[in-house]
C-alpha cells in the first residue's frame, strides 16, 4: 500500500522527529507521512534506536535517584494507568489518524475558509514556532502563490499536484527551502487536498492581506 510513494521526508527531519526537537507542526507532518509510508516509518524507528543507544550510554552510576524513588514509582503503578484521552476515530480515506486528532474528526469536520480562486485552507492548532494547514485546491488550479521562507513541506492527501519537474500524489511530500520558486498546479482529474507546514510566518491568510502585501512590496 505504500510502495507508490516516491517523494519522502529528509533524514534530518526524520531524525529530528525521533529526537523530539521539531516544532509541533513538523511533528504532525512526520506522523501523517509515516502513517502512509513504511520506508520512512522504518527510518524513524532506526533513529529511535539511536536514541535508545544514547539513553543506554548515558552513565547511570553518577546519577542518584531520590530515596524512596522505587516505592514512589510502585505507588504510581498502583494508582492505575492514566486514562487515554484519545477517542477512537473512524477510518477516514483522506485524513490519517494524526490529522484527525487535529481536525477533530474526518474530512467532513474540516472548517475550510476560502482564500480566493476556489482555494480554501484550514489552519490547524499547533505551537507557534511553526504552522500547519490543510489546503484545498480545485482540480487544475494553481496552488496559492507563496514565496518560500524557511522550511516548507507539502504533502498530498487527495488528488495530486505537479510542478515543472515532478508529480506528487497521495503520500508524497515536497520539501522546499527558501531557494525554491515554482508554481505547482493541481492535477486536472481531482480536487487536491494537501497538508502544508512551514516554520516561516504565514505571509497571507486571505485575499485582502495578500493584495495589501503586494502593494506594500512595490
Amino acid at each position: 500500500m505504500t510502495q507508490q510513494i516516491t517523494h519522502h521526508l529528509t533524514d534530518n527531519i526524520l531524525m529530528g522527529y525521533a529526537a523530539g526537537t521539531l516544532p509541533e507542526a513538523f511533528n504532525l507532518m512526520v506522523a501523517t507521512h509515516v502513517s502512509l509510508c513504511d520506508a520512512c516509518r522504518a527510518q524513524v524507528e532506526s533513529y529511535d534506536a539511536v536514541g535508545g543507544a544514547v539513553l543506554d550510554q548515558t552513565p547511570g552510576n553518577d546519577i542518584s535517584l531520590t530515596p524512596g524513588s522505587f516505592a514512589a514509582t510502585m505507588a504510581l503503578i498502583a494508582g492505575g494507568a492514566p486514562d487515554e484521552i484519545r477517542k477512537p476515530r473512524s477510518r477516514d480515506v483522506v485524513l490519517p489518524k494524526p490529522l484527525q486528532d487535529y481536525v477533530g474528526g474526518g474530512l467532513d469536520s474540516v472548517k475550510w475558509r476560502s482564500i480566493g480562486m476556489g482555494v480554501k485552507q484550514a489552519i490547524l492548532p499547533t505551537s507557534k514556532d511553526a504552522s500547519a494547514r490543510l489546503l484545498y485546491i480545485p482540480a487544475g488550479a494553481a496552488m496559492p502563490d507563496h514565496g518560500h521562507h524557511g522550511t516548507e513541506m507539502t504533502m498530498v492527501l487527495q488528488g495530486a499536484f505537479q510542478d515543472e519537474d515532478d508529480y506528487f500524489a497521495r503520500g508524497d511530500v515536497e520539501v522546499a527551502d527558501s531557494d525554491l520558486h515554482h508554481t505547482p498546479v493541481a492535477d486536472i482529474h481531482e480536487d487536491c487536498i494537501c497538508l502544508a507546514v512551514t516554520d516561516a510566518p504565514l505571509r497571507f491568510q486571505g485575499l485582502l492581506p495578500k493584495i495589501a502585501q503586494r502593494f506594500a512590496r512595490i
Binding site: 500500500m1 529528509t10 533524514d11 534530518n12 527531519i13 531524525m15 529530528g16 525521533a18 529526537a19 523530539g20 526537537t21 521539531l22 509541533e24 511533528n27 504532525l28 512526520v30 506522523a31 501523517t32 509515516v34 502513517s35 513504511d38 516509518r41 522504518a42 524507528e45 532506526s46 533513529y47 529511535d48 534506536a49 539511536v50 536514541g51 535508545g52 543507544a53 544514547v54 539513553l55 543506554d56 550510554q57 548515558t58 552513565p59 547511570g60 552510576n61 553518577d62 546519577i63 542518584s64 535517584l65 531520590t66 524513588s69 522505587f70 514512589a72 514509582t73 504510581l76 503503578i77 492505575g80 494507568a81 492514566p82 490519517p96 489518524k97 494524526p98 499547533t126 505551537s127 522550511t151
Partner: protein, 182 residues
C-alpha cells in the same frame, strides 16, 4: 562472549514477565538500570533534578502500564524506554502535544517470531557499539541532537550513522505486521 546480547534478551524477557505476570522483581531490575539513565537523559535535556526525577518515575510506571505495547521485533527495551522518555520530555519541558503515527500493533493472538526478535535485538546492540566507537566529536554531535541542543537544520550534516541493517530489520517487522493486520 555474547554477554551484551544476552543482556538485551534479558531485558526483553523482563518485559514479557512484567506484561504477563506483573513480575515486580523483573520490574525492579528494569528500574535499577533505566531509571537513573532516564533521569540523567532528562537532566541533560534541560530538566532540573527534581523534575527529571519525577518524570523518570512516570516513564518507568508507563513501562509497566504499556508493557503490552512493546514490540521486541521492532525495538530494544532501551529504544522503547527512550521513546517514552522523549514523549514525556516534549509534554513536560516543551509543553506540546506529540502527534504519533497510526498504530501498527500485534493483535492479542499473535506474537512476533523469536528469530526476528533475536535479530533485531542484535542489530540494536551493534548499532550501540558502532555509536560508542565513533570519533568523540561525532558521537557528541549525535548526543547533542538527542538532548535537544541542535536544531533539525543543524543535524542536516549528520552522516556516518550505520542504520542500513537495523532499518531493514524494522522494515521486515513492519511488513509482517501489515500482513498480520489484513
Amino acid at each position: 562472549m555474547q554477554d551484551s546480547d544476552a543482556k538485551r534478551m534479558q531485558w526483553v524477557d523482563h518485559m514479557v514477565r512484567i506484561r504477563d505476570d506483573q513480575d515486580q522483581a523483573a520490574f525492579a531490575a528494569l528500574f535499577d538500570h533505566f531509571a537513573p539513565r532516564v533521569k540523567g537523559f532528562l537532566m541533560k535535556s534541560g530538566a532540573d533534578a527534581s523534575l527529571a526525577e519525577e518524570c523518570a518515575q512516570e516513564v518507568l510506571a508507563t513501562c509497566w502500564h504499556k508493557a503490552h505495547m512493546f514490540d521486541p521485533a521492532r525495538a530494544s527495551v532501551a529504544t522503547w524506554i527512550f521513546t517514552i522518555a522523549r514523549n514525556r520530555k516534549i509534554d513536560v519541558l516543551r509543553k506540546q502535544r506529540r502527534p504519533e503515527p497510526e498504530d501498527l500493533a500485534w493483535g492479542p493472538e499473535e506474537e512476533p517470531d523469536q528469530a526476528d526478535v533475536m535479530a533485531l535485538q542484535q542489530e540494536s546492540e551493534q548499532l550501540g557499539r558502532a555509536i560508542s566507537e565513533l570519533p568523540a566529536a561525532q558521537r557528541e554531535l549525535i548526543q547533542k541532537a538527542y538532548f535537544g541542543d541542535l536544531s533539525h537544520s543543524e543535524i542536516a550534516e549528520q552522516t556516518g550513522l550505520p542504520l542500513g541493517t537495523i532499518k531493514s530489520r524494522i522494515r521486515l517487522a513492519l511488513e509482517r505486521l501489515r500482513h498480520a493486520m489484513k
